[in-house]
């Protein structure tokens, strides 16, 4: 039996529909997942006379950093500031409003600032990608006057099987690419074995019907 005219029209309509594009800036598309960046300062304890502050747009307005990992909203861009501890206690930064705080961090001569910009997310990858986390290790090189020299040292990629892979930064502007550990056994079962078995069953059913 050949497809009728209406089936042909239906198929044509479906194909026409397929030419429509779908796109959105901030939305995770179907079949994708977001891999956030998290950060950690490896030698913050070597600078006990400073309070390290994370400030970003649109947020956080202020976050005091310690040796723990930190992360922030995926669309934010953040900077790190080093405020001498005595200045931090004196100015009571937590009582400032957003404008005063931003003014203080960006213009006060006692604050050391870095040109390093931190991004909130590594990006979107497809669901089948085993990549789960991306931790960037930062290292404070020096604090001189109002210049904070802080650099990205390495990135530790985490995969869904628990594997961690470290990659050193060769350039501050270029994030080393992750190396995929390769697909796991469930990947082969889902994408290869399952469709082959199912197709075999359908062919078997159809042949059996035709012969009986």
């Amino acid at each position: 039996m050949k497809p009728s005219k209406s089936v042909k029209i239906l198929i044509l309509l479906l194909i026409l529909l397929s030419t429509m594009g779908i796109s959105s800036a901030d939305v995770i598309n179907p079949g994708e997942k977001n891999v956030p960046f998290s950060y950690q300062i490896s030698n913050i304890q070597d600078y006990p006379d400073y309070v390290f502050i994370l400030h970003g747009t649109p947020n956080p307005s202020i976050e005091v950093l310690n040796s723990s990992e930190f992360s922030f909203y995926k669309l934010s861009t953040c900077s790190i500031y080093a405020v001498p501890r005595n200045v931090y206690n004196e100015v009571q930064i937590d009582q400032m409003d957003e404008t005063q705080m931003s003014e203080f961090l960006k213009n006060d001569s006692r604050v050391a600032r870095s040109s390093l910009k931190l991004e909130g997310t590594y990006g979107n990858v497809n669901e089948a990608n085993p990549l789960e986390t991306a931790l960037i290790i930062l290292n404070i090189k020096s604090i001189q006057g109002n210049n904070l020299d802080i650099q990205k040292e390495k990135i530790i990629y985490g995969y869904n099987n628990g594997l961690k892979v470290e990659k050193p930064f060769q350039s501050q502007n270029q994030t080393p690419e992750p190396t995929s550990p390769g697909p796991s056994w469930d990947y082969y079962i889902y994408f290869i074995v399952l469709p082959i078995i199912a197709l075999g069953i359908i062919v078997f059913i159809i042949i059996r019907r035709k012969t009986s």
Partner: protein
């Protein structure tokens, strides 16, 4: 991988409900048909989307046509009904997937 398995199971059940709503008999047989049909189309469509061609609507169209052909032979119905059934079933899973993605 976990989310792919969840999507696969959800698709099998949603499409089964749509087909059962049409045939209104042999629920276990229809569930089995939904299982085997979606065990072919969903993994292959996912693989194509991830690694070869990421036009979601084009892939949905191909899936609707292929599933329509499978349903025609498995359910012994005509092309028109098979394609319509496949369209409704896949639109249902697509909408559930979109809603799921926003939750």
């Amino acid at each position: 991988m976990y989310s792919l398995i969840i999507a696969w199971i959800l698709t099998i059940f949603i499409e089964f409900i749509v087909i059962w709503g049409f045939k209104k008999k042999y629920p276990f047989k229809l569930l089995f048909y939904s299982f085997i049909v979606n065990s072919i189309t969903l993994p292959l469509a996912s693989y194509t989307y991830f690694y070869i061609y990421s036009n979601l609507i084009m892939l949905e169209v191909l899936v609707i046509i292929i599933e329509g052909l499978f349903l025609k032979y498995l359910l012994n119905i005509d092309y028109k009904m098979a394609m319509l059934l496949s369209l409704v079933a896949n639109l249902s899973t697509f909408l559930v997937g979109v809603i799921w993605g926003y939750l």
